[in-house]
């Protein structure tokens, strides 16, 4: 590399056939700033939702004989009473912001910086780079506006409404993908370095996941229904959800690690062979692991087994990445002591190793029976998100700051402080969530000697967690405090940048026609020919050839992920036995479906599951376990992944309408220690009866058999609302509620899980 002042003429083409060019660092600076800004926003929202889970009872918490949080009551009250700030709406904002805005921009920052240098070329198109940047930021802003308004698709990590989904596909494939692959094709470095393999896997797989999980039929600009229902929707969703972890939070960050860690350590990568083996095994095996999110649900048993076993097999491929990262630091550990960048990387990679050990462990069915629906999972994902994604991103930013702003880092000491406060924050968060998860998991399943639940009152198991929830707030606040330190360092470093950035000119020779290196002959003697061929194969020279052929390389990645997906999907789709039907299960009425849309919109699934597992402590607590055939009209499925509140699948008919009315208005009026937000707005908001026909028609288009019911959607809905309202009056409730949204929600809740006790329509007609 030579600086502009040294460059021979600055023009491209020299006597030696070298071409001169410069890297586009301006777009990298933009992505870096966006990483910081959205990281702060996403984590701040995380802190708010963590506070929300203690806020409703905080004034009552005792500590050392006193009530230290009593004075906070007036401050805290709004955050569980205002509809736009309710946990169910903010939690998706937190997850989307941290994953797609913070981690997303960090990925783009890493990709745009390293790809240019690894390919010895400028990005394919500056226009596409900028369209990518601004397009992605516009998507984030629209997410931040729509989610608090309750506009959501109700699928975890895929909540954004369909117009934003389309924008994501355009920006990801059309801007980012084209720009990246265009750069690969224009490269001046023959072979693709391992970081680029991981970027390739990221781009193609995320595109496939996003498109297939988001297939939906719109029923208006902000409303849509996924084409899949029930078990299939759950299956597709967790194929997506798990692989979002794999291909959004793992592979691109491994790519980041493979570039920035050896750069910062100034050491060669430990093992090229390990890179090859762990890359391909990771890409192929990860795809299968999704069903481990659905153990003991209505998913077929074989799918659950696949999810568990492929997760176990994933342990070593994941650790291959950790080993290659940590062992690259051999001989450089003295630098780790002195350099905050390397400290962030070491802890980041270590957390990657811990999370990828814990992940397979949690996917073992018997472990999962304890951990599922508890905070153990929350602890697990935050070890990954804060430890691995967060610290890798921070390490990268600290390494980039002096280079991109062409100055020195303002304060190394502050970076050290950030490292330590962040690390302590993660540990407090992580350990408190483990303690909370295991505590609650054990309380749910505890039977006394008579065989009766020891803690039949669900809220008791929640109250036990409150001290841990307070510690989580402290841990999260420390971590966010570290980000503020980064922001200060960032700003102060930026202030000392030169008046004009120096653009360095780089020289490299263009690629000539590729001659594949010849595979060496086998040195084995006195063996059969096939052994000699195997010997040559395991030298991996064929892979070296692929590294020079990006199109072929990409095609093989696509084949790996599509084949793995097809093996999983096709049996679920075609084997009829996997889709048992129950004759008495009928579609939701238009009013119930409208109520269900409210349930989805309010993000009830972020705290309530609708999936009673076949275990005695669950059937004792909730009732008959859930069966696949009960969910055939659930677009989208709402099985949930966490029980901050109890399961709701058998809620229908278990309580009176008036109970629900009072409870939605103010949960604490009915359940003293409840931490559920208030939904008073639903008592005043009117039902939009006119909107129902469009929604029901959309569902009919994707196979929900409404038949005759489509003729008078509004009339039927009004009749049912009037009936519920009348029952409510008879139960001693208020009159005149038949036009209010709460009636639709109650209609839905009272329908939940009741069909199995009804007589099938065909039989009833006889």
């Amino acid at each position: 590399m030579a600086f502009a002042t040294d460059a021979p003429g600055g023009a491209s083409g020299t006597a030696r056939g070298l071409e001169s060019f410069s890297y586009d660092d301006a777009v990298v600076r933009k992505f870096m700033l966006a990483t910081l800004v959205w990281g702060f926003v996403g984590m701040l929202v995380g802190l708010i939702v963590a506070i929300q889970l203690v806020a409703p009872v905080a004034h009552d918490l005792t500590l050392m004989g006193g009530r230290p949080f009593a004075f906070l009551k007036p401050v805290l009250e709004p955050i569980y009473s205002i509809e736009w700030l309710s946990f169910g709406r903010l939690r998706p904002l937190h997850t989307n912001a941290v994953i797609f805005a913070f981690a997303g921009n960090a990925i783009f920052c890493a990709v745009y910086y390293s790809t240019q240098r690894l390919c010895k070329t400028r990005m394919f198109s500056d226009l596409l780079s900028n369209l990518h940047f601004w397009g992605w930021q516009a998507i984030i802003v629209s997410a931040a506006l729509t989610l608090p308004l309750g506009l959501t698709q109700g699928k975890e990590y895929a909540e954004l409404i369909w117009p934003i989904d389309i924008a994501i596909a355009v920006v990801w494939v059309g801007f980012f993908g084209v720009n990246f692959f265009g750069t690969l094709l224009r490269r001046r470095e023959r072979h693709l370095y391992v970081a680029l393999w991981f970027y390739i896997a990221t781009i193609v797989t995320v595109a496939v996941l996003h498109v297939f999980n988001s297939l939906a039929i719109p029923a208006g600009l902000t409303q849509s229904y996924p084409v899949y229902a029930g078990v299939q929707d759950a299956f597709v969703q967790w194929w997506y959800g798990h692989n979002a972890v794999a291909f959004f939070l793992t592979t691109p960050f491994l790519g980041l690690m493979y570039y920035f860690l050896p750069k910062a350590a100034e050491k060669p990568v430990f093992s090229y062979r390990l890179s090859i083996i762990h890359f391909w095994s990771l890409v192929f095996i990860y795809i299968w692991a999704g069903p481990h999110h659905l153990h003991y649900t209505a998913l077929p048993a074989w799918a659950s087994t696949l999810g568990m076993l492929f997760s176990l097999m994933l342990w070593m491929p994941s650790w291959g990445g950790m080993i290659n990262g940590l062992l690259t630091l051999r001989g450089a550990w003295n630098k780790v002591a002195a350099e905050p960048v390397l400290k962030f990387f070491v802890v980041g990679v270590t957390f990657y190793g811990m999370s990828t050990f814990e992940g397979p462990m949690l996917s073992i069915k018997s472990v999962n029976s304890l951990s599922h629906y508890t905070d153990w999972t929350i602890g697990h994902v935050h070890a990954g998100a804060l430890g691995w994604n967060g610290f890798m991103a921070f390490g990268m930013i600290y390494w980039l700051l002096p280079r991109l702003f062409q100055t020195t880092l303002w304060s190394k000491a502050l970076a050290e402080w950030h490292f330590w406060i962040g690390t302590i924050g993660i540990f407090i968060y992580w350990i408190s969530m483990y303690a909370a998860g295991i505590t609650q998991g054990l309380m749910w399943r505890a039977f006394d000697q008579t065989g009766v639940l020891v803690y039949p009152d669900f809220v008791e198991t929640v109250m036990r967690l409150m001290p841990m929830y307070v510690f989580r707030v402290i841990g999260g606040a420390l971590f966010l405090g570290g980000v503020v330190m980064l922001a200060i360092n960032y700003f102060m470093t930026w202030r000392t940048r030169p008046a004009r950035y120096e653009v360095s000119l780089v020289q490299a020779a263009p690629l000539h026609d590729y001659k594949a290196p010849r595979a060496p002959a086998s040195g084995l003697e006195n063996v059969i020919p096939i052994a000699r061929r195997a010997d040559v194969f395991f030298q991996l020279n064929w892979h070296r050839r692929w590294e020079g052929l990006p199109v072929r390389f990409t095609v093989w990645v696509v084949i790996a992920i599509v084949a793995a997906s097809a093996f999983e999907f096709i049996p679920t789709w075609i084997v009829e036995a996997n889709r048992p039907s129950i004759a008495s299960v009928t579609p939701y009425t238009p009013l119930e479906q409208y109520g269900r849309d409210i349930y989805v919109s309010e993000g009830c699934y972020t705290c309530h599951s609708q999936m009673v597992r076949p275990m005695r402590h669950e059937t004792e607590r909730y009732g008959q376990y859930s069966m696949a055939g009960e969910f055939v009209y659930d677009h989208p499925f709402q099985w949930g992944s966490r029980r901050i509140g109890p399961d709701l699948h058998r809620e229908g008919g278990a309580r009176s309408h008036v109970w629900h009315l009072d409870h939605f208005d103010n949960p604490r009026a009915v359940v003293q220690d409840s931490i559920m937000p208030r939904y008073s707005h639903l008592l005043t908001q009117d039902i939009d009866f006119g909107a129902m026909e469009k929604r029901v028609s959309a569902l009919a288009m994707i196979g929900v058999p409404y038949g005759e019911a489509l003729k008078d959607v509004e009339g039927a809905a009004r009749a049912q609302a009037a009936q519920i309202s009348a029952e409510m009056v008879e139960q001693g409730g208020p009159d005149g509620m038949q036009d209010k949204a709460i009636i639709a929600l109650i209609a839905y809740v009272q329908r939940l899980g009741t069909d199995i006790n009804k007589v099938a329509p065909a039989e009833a007609g006889q």
Partner: protein, 213 residues
Amino acid sequence: MTRHTSEHHPDLLGDPGKDRILEHNYDGIQEYDNPTPGWWHWLFWASIFFSVIYTMFWHFSELSWTEHQALDRAVAAHYEKIFASVGELPPNDETILMLMHSDDPDIRNLQLVAKGTFTAKCAACHGATASGGTGPNLTDDTYINVKKLTDIPNVIANGAKAGAMPAWKGRLTDNEITLMASYVASLRGTNVPGKQAEGDVIPDWPAYTPETK
């Protein structure tokens, strides 16, 4: 790449100095020609081997069982443990009074079971101490839909007041309904302060006369 990588054992903790470096150079990043660590290989193979055995046992052998079978066994065992000694519990005066008053330790035990069920299913409306909430106070002498003892199992089974009291038939077994009726009946007159009395004062429950056998 030479074909002798596997013969070299890199020092994982110490100095990489003896490792062979490849001729790769990407923006200054180089790579060693080290083999994958042996323990890594073996654990990878072990996870694959385990997966084959696991699949064969759980999906292709006669010895395995499903989670639903396990649940059915656990439920049957529990029901057997709780109700085996008393058999069927018809919802009549004699049975309810027996469940309320018998000194038999098995019957007292059943009342503990009933108390747990009450906390799980009834407390949400009637309160943890049965002193009322959305639903009426069950500890006073007044009743809304109950005139005589056998009305209690009927109200529990079929509900009342347009669903203000939900129907528990199908959610609780017949035995559990009778048992719950006896538990609720025994709460009468404990007069836990709570919701104001609703309904009418009704005659006392019939007297308990233990059968002599």
